[in-house]
């Protein structure tokens, strides 16, 4: 128990050092850098155009679906990691159990695939129609 705790204690020290490093960096820079903000400088950058409205707008729901599907598979992987450390001692039984477990979830992936939940909106390039030209007569005859 103390072993686990002390190793995570090291992780905690890493965490503290990371925080101190970032805070120290900010402070050092604050002492060195100039600070002369003006309304133009602190306006939102939109390639020189004046920003229209807030950026906090509604997004495509598909990003949300991706996050949902991610959680399901993430939980599955979490279940499989302890299994991965012991499955060799347990042999075929463990293999069958894990295959059933993964198989059921692959069904879910297949379902989402077939129903088109994994398809992103594709750009549909519209090629402008060229006006019919006399020169194209030869190409149309070919087929």
């Amino acid at each position: 128990m103390d072993q686990t705790l002390s190793e995570f204690g090291n992780v905690f020290v890493f965490f503290l050092l990371g925080v101190v490093f970032v805070a120290g960096g900010y402070l050092t820079a604050r002492m060195l850098r100039p600070s002369r903000p003006n309304p133009v400088k602190t306006s939102t950058y939109e390639c020189g155009e004046e920003a229209v409205g807030s950026a906090w707008v509604k997004f495509n729901i598909r990003f949300y679906v991706v996050a949902l599907i991610f959680i399901i598979f993430d939980v599955e992987v979490v279940f499989l990691f302890p299994w991965a450390t012991v499955f060799r001692q347990l042999g075929s039984f463990a293999l069958v159990e894990a295959l059933v477990f993964a198989g059921i979830l692959i069904l879910g992936l297949v379902y989402a695939w077939v129903k088109g939940d994994l398809d992103w909106v594709r750009p549909t390039p519209s090629v402008p129609k060229m006006p019919e030209m006399p020169a194209s007569k030869s190409t149309s005859q070919r087929d």
Binding site: K58, I69, F70, I71, F79, P82, V86, Y111
Partner: protein, 173 residues
């Protein structure tokens, strides 16, 4: 746990968990509430470490911070005009609410103090927790293990279905 440093760190994480959770509830800015959950989840993960459940602690970070929190943030960000809406956290039904709160608190404390066995167990766990979890899921808890997969499948199909049919509105991006 006798080490005073560990005790101090334990209380630090306990405080972080409680205060960030309180901030989630009381903040008027919904996006701050969501980001505050990060600290709640991390505090809970640290508390798992103090129970020497290292695998559960990392799972807490993977699933809750990496999954649930991102989902919540997406949910907040993708809602129309979330920043224009003033969150109404007015206190409604103050007196029944207080009674409910006190009742639940009393019930919890009662169970907490009357349940025996809050002593440190004599049998300390030998070896890695991960391997023990692996063995247990493959022996005593095989059925729950497989049921979990069916539950996840149901969740996946349900989530995909709902998201698909709520998609009738206009997508601005």
């Amino acid at each position: 746990m006798s080490n005073p440093t560990y005790t101090a760190i334990f209380y630090l994480f306990a405080a972080i968990t409680v205060f960030s959770a309180a901030f989630v509830v009381f903040s008027r800015n919904v996006i701050y509430s969501a980001f505050s959950l990060l600290f709640t989840f991390f505090g809970i993960a640290a508390l798992y470490v103090f129970l020497s459940a290292d695998f559960i602690a990392v799972t807490q970070v993977v699933v809750y911070v990496g999954g649930i929190l991102v989902l919540l943030l997406f949910g907040v960000m993708f809602t129309n005009n979330i920043m224009d809406t003033d969150l109404k956290t007015d206190v409604l039904h103050a007196i029944p609410g207080t009674f409910l709160f006190l009742g639940i608190l009393a019930a919890l404390l009662f169970t907490f103090y009357t349940t025996n066995g809050w002593m440190p167990s004599d049998t300390q766990l030998q070896g890695s927790v991960v391997e023990r979890i692996g063995f247990e899921t493959m022996s005593r808890y095989v059925l729950p293990f497989e049921m979990a997969s069916i539950l996840l499948l149901a969740a996946l199909i349900g989530a995909a279905f709902l998201a698909r049919y709520d998609n009738g509105g206009t997508n601005e991006h």
